[in-house]
Symmetry: C2
Subunit: 555 residues, 2 copies
C-alpha cells in the first residue's frame, strides 16, 4: 500500500502549473533564429517575439495593469494580435479578443461587462473603437450611479494602445511601439500560481440576446495545444497561415499550438483565395484553418482560374457543417481537409473527423460524405455523447436517435463571466451542454442535425430544421430558407418555412409543398410557407428567434 | 478584474484528472479494429486490449487488490506486460515493473520494500521469482517482529499470477488466462480522483547501495505521452517495436504514448539485430528505442551482412552517451536517430537532441557529433540548467563551466517511496538534482561530462572521469578503463586509472602515461595506473565505489 506522505506532495521541482507561456520560452530558447511571424513586410524571429512579448507585458504592468485585469484587443490577425496571446498572460492579465465584425453597441457592452482595463486597437478598427468607447462613456454616464461608483468607473475607463496598421490611431492613445522601445531591462513573466487561473475572456456571438463571456484557464490552453499536435498529427515545424480570426476562440488555440512547435506563422489581414494560394506559393504554407466558406472561395477561385498546389496543404475546417460537394472539390484540388467541431465554450475543436486507413480506396464523393460528419472526440476530450434533452440519459450510437451533444474534458470553459445561472445551466448533469443536436453513428461519429432550440417537435417526432432547409435550398428558385417551429393545436409544433426567392425567380406555396413532399416524409413537410427577406445578424447568421415570433402572427 | 467566483471552480464537466487510462478508452472507441499488439503469433485489436485490461483489472479487484496496493511484474516485453500498464491502474493499484536482470536478493528486497500485494510472473522468470519469494519469506521470518506484525506480513504475502510464456509456472499461482476468462460483466475503471495519485513504483538500479523506489503520478504519465508526441514529432499511427524494456521507466512511457496514437506495438522477448531488422521488414516497424548498445548491434550486423531498410525508421536512443562513430554508421544505414536523456526519476526522456534544419547540409561525421550531445529540454520539461554543486547557483551556457544538471517539470517523480531524506536531497533548492555533470553550450545544448560522484576535483579543476576514460579506451591494448578520484595531499584529488587489458595485449604504466599526455592536458593525466579486472554489477555497470575504496590502498 503506497502511503501518500506529506513529503510526496507537489513542489516547485515536480509540479509546474500548465500554461502556454512555457511554450514561448522553450521555443525561443531552442529556436531563437527561426522565423516566428511573417506579417506583410515584417519578419520576427522567435527570440524577437519573446522579447517583444516581454516588453509589452512590462509595459502593461507599468501602465497599471494588475493580475486579473482584462486587456481587450480589436485587431485583425497581425503580429501584435498574435503576441497579445502571450504578453497579456505574461503580465498576469486576461486577454479579451473582440470580434471586429460586431457593431459598436455590442463592443461597448463587452467593454463594460469585461471591465476592460486596456483596449489595444489596430488602426483598421479605429472608427469602431472610437464609437464603442463613446457609447461606453454614455452608458456609464447615464447609469443611475452613486458618485463613488462613477468615480470608480471613470478610473477604470480603458486605456487605449495603438497597435499601428492602416489609418488613424484612436485620439489620445498610447503607442504600442513606444511601449516596446521604452523597455530594456530583464523581465520575468508573471506565471500562474494555479493552472486554473483565467487566461482569456471570449464573448460568444449568440444569435439572440447579449453575448456571454466565456472564461478559459491556462491548463485548458496548454492541453488544447498538445492535444491538437496529437489530434491533427502535427510534426516538425509547420508554416501556418493564420486565416482563422484570432478573435474566434483565440484562433482555435493555434497561437499556442504553433508556438509549441516553433512553427512559422503567416499573418493575414484580408482572407481571399488569392491570398491563401499566394501564401502557399510564396511562404510554403503547409497548414491553415477556415470555415467552409473559405473552402468555397478556393473552389470558386480554381473554377475561375485553375491552380496547382506546389506541396501538400492540410486544412482544418469548422464553424459549420461543410457541404460534401465543397469538400469533394477542395480535396480534388489537393487540400487535405479535416473537419472539426467545437464552440467558444470548448476552446474551439473538441471533436474531429478522423480518417480511417480502411477508407483510403473510396472515391472523392464517398470521402467527402464521410468527412462531412463532425466526428469523434479529440485526444483531450474525455467524452462526447448525445443525451436526451428531457431526461438527460445517454442515447444509443444507432445513427438515428437524436440528442444533444454533451462533452466532458479539460478544454471546456471555467464558466460564463458574471453569469452563474447560465453556467449552471450549461453544466447541468455533470457535462457541458453544447446546444447542438446530433445523431451518433455506430462507429461513434457524431453528425449534427440542428441547434437544440431550432429543432421542431411535431407529434412527438424530432424534425431537424436544417434537413428541411436543405431540401428547400435545392429548389432552383430559393435563395435562402429558414424553417422554425410554429405552435399547432394538434401536433404541438409544425414546421413553418420562411423563404427568400432569387431575384426574378418565382415559386408558389403549392410548388414548394410539392417539392418538399418529393424529398421528405410527410410530417417533415412545412405546413406554412412565408415569402420574405430573412432577418440576419451583422455576421450573416439568420435570426431564427425573430422568425419564431413572426410565425405566431400567421393563422 | 476577473472575479474567481465559487461557481467557476473546477467540476466534473471541465476538469478531468489527467491519466493515461483516458488514452486507452479513446483509442479503443475510435480504432476498435486496428491491431494494437503483435506478440509473436498473437494479435490483439485495440478493443480486445481494452477488454483484456478490464478483465484483468476486475480480476485483480476480485483477488483483493485495493486502491494504492502494489502489483509487481517480472516479465519481458509481452502483451501481458503492456496491458499491465493500464489494467493495474484501472484497478486503482500501483504498477511496479521489476528489472528481470536483477539478482533474487534484490528482487526480494523490492518485494519487501514495495509491500507487493500481487506478483505477476512470465514463466521465463519463474526461477528468479521463486528464489526471490523464498528469500522474501526468510527475510520476513528472520526479522525480529512482534507476532501481530508477522501476521500482517503473512497476510500480505504476494499472490502470484502466471502470465504464461515458455517454461513452468510458479507453484501454486493463479493463471492470468483464468482471470481473464472468468470476467464477463461490464467494468468501470477506478479512475484517479486526483491526477497526483501514484501510478507506478519504479526501482532505480543504482550502482551502489539499495535501489530506491521512484513514485510516478498519473499526471506525469499523461503529459509524458503528449510531450513525446510533440517532442519526437510522432503523427499518424506508428508501428512501434518495443525493444526498450518496460521495466526501465515503463519503457520510457511509450506504452502510454503509443496508445494515445493508436499505434501498433510489436513485442520483443529477445533483442537482436536480426529481430529488429526482421520486424521492420515483416511488420513495417517505423519506430523503436534502445540504448546505444542496440545501435552497435545493428552496425555490427550490417557489417557482417549488409541490409537495406524498406522505409524510414526512427530511433530514440538513451541510457548512455552514444559514441559518435556508432551514430554515424547507424544513420548511414538509414536510421534517423534522436538521442534523449533522462533518468528513472524523470519518467525517462526529458532532454532531447533536436535537429536544426540549418545543419541539414553537414556530413555524417559532423551530424553524429552534433547528435552525440544530450540536447535541450523536452516540450514538457520546464527547465534544464546546470548548477554549481557547492553554491547551487546557475552556471553560464559557455560550453566549459561544468555543473550538475537540474530539472523542473511535470514529468519529475513525486519522490522516493519511504525515503524522505533522499527525496529532500534530490529536490534541494527547488529543482531535481540528476547527479549528472554537464556543460551547457551557448545554443543551450547540454553535454554530459560525468556522474557527479565520479568527477575528480584536482587543484580546483573539475576533471571528467569519462573524458580520461575515453582516451584510455582509444589505446589499442585497453579493453576497459575506469578513472576515479584518489586523495592527494597537494592537489586534493588526482585521477587514478584502473585498466583491464585485452587478452594477450600488453601495456606498461609508462606507455599509458605517454599516451594520455598526448591527448590530455597535464592535470587530467592519471597519476596512478592499476592493471586488474574491473568489478561490474549484474547489469554490466562498473562499480566505481569499489574502485574508490581500492584506490586508497595504493601509495
Amino acid at each position: 500500500m503506497i502511503d501518500e506522505a506529506p513529503y510526496l506532495q507537489p513542489r516547485a521541482a515536480n509540479h509546474v502549473p500548465l500554461t502556454p507561456i512555457s511554450f514561448l520560452y522553450r521555443t525561443a530558447d531552442l529556436y531563437p533564429d527561426r522565423v516566428a511571424i511573417i506579417d506583410e513586410e515584417r519578419r520576427f524571429t522567435w527570440l524577437e517575439v519573446r522579447r517583444r512579448c516581454e516588453a509589452l507585458a512590462a509595459g502593461l504592468i507599468r501602465l497599471g495593469v494588475k493580475p486579473g485585469d482584462v486587456v481587450s484587443v480589436l485587431a485583425p490577425n497581425t503580429a501584435e494580435m498574435f503576441e497579445a496571446h502571450f504578453a497579456v498572460a505574461m503580465a498576469g492579465a486576461v486577454l479579451n479578443t473582440i470580434n471586429i465584425r460586431l457593431d459598436a453597441e455590442t463592443v461597448a457592452y463587452i467593454l463594460e461587462h469585461a471591465e476592460t482595463r486596456v483596449l489595444m486597437v489596430d488602426r483598421q478598427l479605429t472608427p469602431l473603437a472610437e464609437e464603442a468607447l463613446a457609447r461606453l462613456d454614455r452608458l456609464r454616464q447615464s447609469a443611475p450611479l452613486a458618485e463613488v461608483a462613477l468615480a470608480r468607473l471613470n478610473r477604470l475607463k480603458p486605456l487605449v494602445i495603438d497597435l499601428g496598421g492602416p489609418g488613424q490611431a484612436v485620439a489620445g492613445c498610447i503607442r504600442h511601439a513606444d511601449l516596446l522601445h521604452s523597455e530594456a531591462a530583464a523581465f520575468a513573466p508573471l506565471l500562474p500560481a494555479d493552472e486554473w487561473q483565467t487566461l482569456c475572456l471570449n464573448y460568444t456571438s449568440g444569435t439572440s440576446g447579449r453575448p456571454k463571456g466565456v472564461l478559459y484557464h491556462h491548463r485548458g490552453a496548454y492541453l488544447m495545444a498538445l492535444g491538437t499536435v496529437a489530434g491533427w498529427g502535427l510534426s516538425g515545424h509547420p508554416t501556418y497561415l493564420y486565416t482563422v480570426p484570432m478573435f474566434h476562440c483565440n484562433g482555435w488555440g493555434h497561437a499556442w499550438t504553433m508556438t509549441a512547435l516553433a512553427a512559422t506563422i503567416v499573418c493575414c489581414r484580408q482572407i481571399s483565395a488569392q491570398a491563401i494560394v499566394g501564401a502557399i506559393e510564396t511562404f510554403g504554407v503547409t497548414h491553415f484553418g477556415g470555415a467552409p466558406v473559405v473552402l468555397g472561395m478556393l473552389v470558386e477561385a480554381a473554377e475561375a482560374e485553375p491552380f496547382t498546389l506546389p506541396h501538400a496543404v492540410r486544412v482544418m475546417t469548422a464553424g459549420a457543417p461543410p457541404p460534401a460537394a465543397i469538400l469533394e472539390k477542395v480535396e480534388a484540388l489537393g487540400f487535405d481537409v479535416m473537419q472539426v467541431y467545437g464552440l467558444t465554450e470548448t476552446y474551439g475543436h473538441v471533436v474531429q473527423s478522423i480518417w480511417d486507413q480502411a477508407w483510403d480506396g473510396v472515391d472523392f464523393t464517398s470521402r467527402a460524405m464521410i468527412k462531412a460528419r463532425q466526428g469523434v472526440r479529440f485526444p483531450t476530450t474525455e467524452s462526447a455523447e448525445i443525451w436526451d434533452a428531457q431526461s438527460g440519459t445517454r442515447l444509443p450510437q444507432d445513427g438515428s436517435a437524436m440528442g444533444e451533444i454533451v462533452l466532458r474534458g479539460n478544454t471546456i470553459m471555467k464558466g460564463y463571466h458574471k453569469d452563474e445561472a447560465a453556467t449552471e445551466a450549461a453544466f447541468a448533469g455533470g457535462a457541458f451542454h453544447t446546444g447542438d443536436v446530433a445523431v451518433q453513428h455506430p462507429d461513434g461519429f457524431l453528425e449534427i442535425k440542428d441547434r437544440i432550440k431550432d429543432i421542431i417537435i411535431s407529434g412527438g417526432e424530432n424534425i431537424s430544421s436544417i434537413e428541411v432547409e436543405s431540401v428547400l435550398y435545392r429548389h432552383p428558385a430559393v435563395s435562402a430558407a429558414a424553417v422554425v417551429a410554429k405552435h399547432d393545436a394538434k401536433w404541438g409544433e409544425t414546421p413553418c418555412a420562411f423563404v427568400e426567392l432569387k431575384p426574378g425567380a418565382n415559386a408558389t406555396t403549392d410548388e414548394l409543398n410539392q417539392f418538399c413532399r418529393q424529398h421528405l416524409p410527410g410530417f417533415k413537410v412545412p405546413k406554412h410557407y412565408i415569402f420574405e427577406t430573412l432577418p440576419k445578424t451583422s455576421t450573416g447568421k439568420i435570426e431564427k428567434y425573430k422568425l419564431r415570433e413572426r410565425a405566431k402572427a400567421f393563422p
